[in-house]
């Protein structure tokens, strides 16, 4: 026979158990969609770190292989919240100028007689434009081209032009990849000069 006092205690005990079970059930229900969401979402800290590593690695490679020099760092120093796309804009200006100049140089080389003064002038513009973004290999090849112009060495100019075109295409492709990576981190992070 259960005493009334004990009966009350049992009621309280089972009531508490019921409440606890309800609490677990609700927690479990609320956790399921969260877990499901978490499985679908990439881990943001890990993705950002990987992206950052890729960017830093790519930039280091561009410097180590001589594609870029310190001037590129100078451009990144000038990028800030008020001009978050500054570097990409300067580089775009370079490729717009340089594509035109390469065409002009090619056309000038085909003229007879060759105007080595004009060729030198075009290469001078190209060199200046390239040096503005730190395009070291391009700048060096322009210097070679100018030296061939000084020596009126047409074959040298033609060989040098082919190298300039190759370097130009390679640099363009590498920088496009670099900027694509930077765009993934968003404008605010891109504007912060942390890619050293």
């Amino acid at each position: 026979m259960i005493m009334p006092h004990t009966h009350s205690l049992l009621l309280v005990f089972f009531g508490q158990c019921f409440r606890i079970c309800e609490m677990w059930r609700k927690a479990a229900d609320s956790r399921v969609p969260l877990v499901r969401q978490m499985k679908d979402m990439p881990e943001p800290n890990m993705d950002y770190s990987n992206l950052r590593r890729q960017i830093i690695s790519m930039k280091k490679s561009l410097f180590d292989q001589g594609y870029l020099d310190e001037q590129f760092n100078q451009l990144e120093e000038l990028q800030d919240d008020s001009s978050p796309n500054f570097v990409e804009e300067v580089v775009a200006l370079f490729f717009k100028d340089s594509s035109r100049l390469l065409t002009n140089i090619e056309q000038a080389l085909e003229k007879h007689p060759q105007d080595f003064y004009r060729l030198d002038s075009l290469a001078h513009q190209f060199k200046g434009s390239g040096s503005s973004i730190g395009a070291l290999r391009m700048k060096n090849e322009c210097s070679m081209f100018k030296a061939h112009c000084s020596n009126r060495n047409l074959e040298g100019c033609r060989r040098s032009l082919q190298k300039m075109k190759r370097e130009h295409a390679t640099l363009k492709q590498k920088l496009e990849t670099y900027f694509q990576l930077l765009r993934q981190v968003g404008p605010r992070e891109r504007a912060v000069n942390s890619w050293k």
Binding site: Q71, Q74, L75, E77, L78, D80, S82, S83, F86, E89, V90, L93, F94, D97, S121, H124, Q125, K127, G128, S129, S131, S132, I133
Partner: protein
């Protein structure tokens, strides 16, 4: 991002004489970064001479060498012929001694090879007490 020093000095008026957009774009950013600069631009030497002749008063003139219509050497000569004593700094993508000499002989006060950088600009401003 204006330098701290810029807040302590008066606004300096700079005339940039440059035909190529990429160099103007870079120079604008550097001068904006230096702070306290009122920038005017001329796309060739003839335009620069016209601005000065028409009363443009500048604290500093930065001029490229190779430009259409009138180059930097000739522009420097003509500006000096007007009796203007504003510091003139020649810029060129070639860092040949002959380039620098030609500018100085034309009446420029200083020469610096391109590309312009923060360090080079700071040196120029300091040299002419504009920092």
């Amino acid at each position: 991002m204006a330098g701290a020093a810029a807040a302590e000095r008066r606004v300096i008026r700079v005339l940039l004489v440059e035909d190529e957009e990429i160099h103007r774009f870079l120079a604008r950013a550097l001068l904006r970064d230096a702070g306290g600069v009122e920038l005017s631009e001329a796309w060739n030497g003839a335009e620069a001479v016209r601005r000065v002749r028409e009363g443009g008063a500048y604290d500093l003139i930065l001029t490229d060498r190779q430009m259409p219509v009138m180059d930097g050497h000739e522009a420097t000569r003509q500006i000096r012929a007007l009796g203007v004593t504003t510091p003139i700094v020649g810029l060129s993508s070639d860092s040949l001694a002959a380039d620098a000499d030609a500018f100085i002989k034309a009446g420029a006060d200083h020469f610096t090879p391109k590309p312009l950088s923060k360090e080079k600009l700071d040196n120029i401003l300091a040299k002419f007490n504009l920092a």
